[in-house]
Amino acid sequence: MKNINSTFSIPSSWLLVFSCWVIATTATLTSLFFSEIVQLPVCVLCWYQRIAMYPLVLMLPLALFPFDAKIIRYAGVLTFFGGLIALFHVLLVAGYIPESAQPCVADISCSQTHLNLFGWLNMPMMSLFTFALIGKLLFYANTKTKRGYLE
């Protein structure tokens, strides 16, 4: 009975990885919109976060058809490092990390923000939330698979 049910409905681990893909794609398109269409400047730290975010758009669908739970491991590493850079960036913008500690090129400052929704939601903050959310969903997906891939 249980077996028949699972063939009809889509397994939750698949749906979780799929959700990660939707979030990563939305984040990628949003960042491209602001840099290419609105033409906001992109600083070095933003680029490092992009390096972690953009591959997910192509990697995750490959693991959806057919489902390959190992993707949790590969995408997890990217998400972790992207999240770390985003955290650093958020702390830099908030002023907890001194200006001299930032690895930015002279012409585009990473401590400056160009988009502020509600006065506090800027791009690095959105990036940090996105990486955190993807990480969380990947973690849930990991617990749903028989073998854990986040050892």
Binding site: I10, L29, F65
Partner: protein
Amino acid sequence: MQTLKLNEATLNKKILFLSTTVVLSLIFFAAISLFQTQQVSKGNELVNNNLSALTRIGAPTKGAADAKVTIVEFFDPACETCAKFYPLVNNIIKKYQGKVKVEMRYTPFHQGSEQVVKLLEAAHLQGKFWPALEILFAKQSFWTYNHVAKSNQALQLLSPLPLNQQQLKIDMESKQIKNIVSRDITDAKSLEVRATPQFFINGKPLANFGYKQLVQSVERAITLAY
């Protein structure tokens, strides 16, 4: 039976994935076109609010004086794309003779460009703006180094022209020319010219940059005016 059900689940997944892809890309392209339409109307509004800044009496022009279509080009003599567009704009004026004229405005964005712009304006006082500009654009690599303009080299290149060199040097330092150049820079700022060349066709900024787009925009203005 088992495989049939399996296929159904896979089909559902594929439908879900593909429809999400379509929805996301539709939202993306809708956002782009919405933003661009807003930018175009904002640009038109900006020019309408600063119409006096667009054309100035005495600025160098080419083409029939009574032409109903005016291209205003904000340019920097040291800008490579401006040099590439110079023959293209000439082609447009030739092709639609009597219907199109071009007015040149100075936007010296490059380092050292302001002196070269003053040189051009001094040549303009002696009625030699266009031959001087043609030489400077054709030999741009001889007086610009790593995006820095050298006005002395530019001045030397103009020696084949029948110009009063003495007067040229005096005019370059004159208050009159200084005022004209700073007026053009202020006008460019109020019209939000951020890159050169920037074209305005009958008061409408060229929304998408490119030669084809420029020609299309000019042709549209001609059909409207004639």
